[in-house]
């Protein structure tokens, strides 16, 4: 019997195998028993101004200069956040609309062609009708980039093919992007 007892320390060490794997600290999006709402990540008190709020507000106010990089960024962000509904060409027939989501207007609607770029930024920031806002997903600078890319989309949908140069036309008929 006493010899069996010698095995006890071994068994006890086995039970502590979890050591340090789960440390008693809060995970970013995890539970926090300390707080009434049970969240580790607490919302800042009402009226708090975050350190980068002025910078964000400024970025939202001021339209960045139009560059090729801005357009490329805009295309990437548009494809991620808008194309599920508005589709990659902006016609409003994305895969989510195909499953029954209300169809958005085509982005080359004359009303939207006349709208200032700021209007697109506002739609992203505040949403519009059944479209939720995307402010939590798209940063202010990216909103301007998307607005710039929407201009490119509108242009692409109203430009007659014979106004393109030869290289672009070959590209178009070849079908590769």
């Amino acid at each position: 019997m006493r010899r069996l007892l010698l095995l006890l320390p071994l068994i006890l060490t086995l039970s502590s195998c979890d050591e340090m794997t789960h440390q008693p600290r809060y995970q970013a999006a995890g539970r926090g028993r300390l707080f009434p709402d049970g969240k580790a990540m607490q919302a800042p008190p009402e009226g708090t101004v975050a350190q980068d709020d002025p910078a964000r507000a400024a970025a939202l106010d001021e339209r960045p200069p139009m560059t090729l990089d801005l357009l490329k960024r805009g295309r990437q962000r548009y494809d991620i956040y808008c194309s599920p509904c508005h589709d990659v060409a902006g016609a409003g027939r994305g895969p989510v609309v195909a499953r029954g989501f209300p169809a958005p207007p085509s982005l080359d609607d004359p009303r939207l062609v006349r709208a200032p770029s700021r209007y697109f930024v506002e739609v992203i920031t505040q949403g519009h009708g059944v479209m939720y806002d995307h402010a939590d997903r798209v940063t202010p600078t990216d909103r301007w980039a998307i607005a710039a890319y929407i201009r490119a989309l509108q242009r692409s949908r109203s430009t007659p093919v014979d106004e393109l140069n030869a290289a672009d036309r070959a590209h178009l008929s070849g079908g590769t992007p």
């Binding site: 895969p95 939720y132 995307h134």
Partner: protein, 220 residues
């Protein structure tokens, strides 16, 4: 006083000790196989989620980009889980009465986040950072597998130290164009002849494999 131990007690004790000894030995022999087994690494196991969220449906069929939901994967250490607001962007109009989505609607009403069960998690003593991997062009699929084919999320790679180090010792073959990190299917990449791509990118970013195995990189 009657005898506590019967005549056979000694034999039983010996048999018991022998069995335990054998057990330890067999465990030792099987250990190397065992730590690679899915029971330990949890590869391929699914967990009961509060909502049966399907990546196959949302990523594979609908083609939604990872970053639509995992918004901080490019900018921070954590990829993050989507806020309930994100689900409701579509589900305020779609499947509005579905029982499967009841927890999502409750979560919106009460402001309590959905408690997802983690499948891809490291021990707390390991530091991991998504943004550097994404910026260098390590695609999601390398570490998380064909997410677009998973009806329920499961772990695709063992997430053991030797798995991290296998890549950190020689990252070149794993590098891809950083603007395509969320692409899932790379089966044509090698056939397209990109043998020089990895070494070229590694030189461009100044990646030094000899520095990438420092213990302090991952254990701080």
């Amino acid at each position: 006083m009657p005898q506590i131990f019967t005549a056979s007690a000694d034999t039983w004790l010996r048999a018991g000790v022998l069995l335990v000894g054998l057990g330890v030995l067999v465990t030792g022999v099987l250990w190397d196989g065992a730590i690679g087994s899915s029971a330990i690494t949890a590869v391929g196991w699914v967990r009961d989620q509060p909502v049966p969220f399907s990546h196959k449906h949302h990523v594979g069929d609908l083609g939604i980009d990872c970053r639509y939901c995992h918004t901080t994967v490019e900018t921070g250490p954590h990829a993050g889980f989507p806020a309930t607001h994100t689900c409701m962007t579509c589900h305020s109009q779609l499947w509005t009465g579905a029982a499967a989505l009841a927890p999502v609607r409750d979560s919106l009403a009460t402001g309590t986040p959905i408690a997802w069960q983690r499948v891809a998690r490291l021990p707390d003593y390991v530091q991991f950072n998504h943004s550097i991997h994404v910026a260098r062009g390590v695609p999601c699929v390398t570490c998380h597998g064909r997410v677009d084919q998973m009806p329920l999320m499961m772990r695709a790679q063992p997430f053991q130290m030797r798995w991290c180090l296998d890549c950190h010792r020689d990252p070149d073959p794993h590098l891809r164009p950083p603007d395509q990190v969320t692409r899932m299917d790379w089966s044509t990449w090698d056939r397209e002849g990109h043998a020089d791509y990895g070494p070229h990118q590694a030189a461009l970013f100044g990646i030094k494999p000899e520095r990438m195995t420092d213990c302090a990189l991952c254990h701080r």
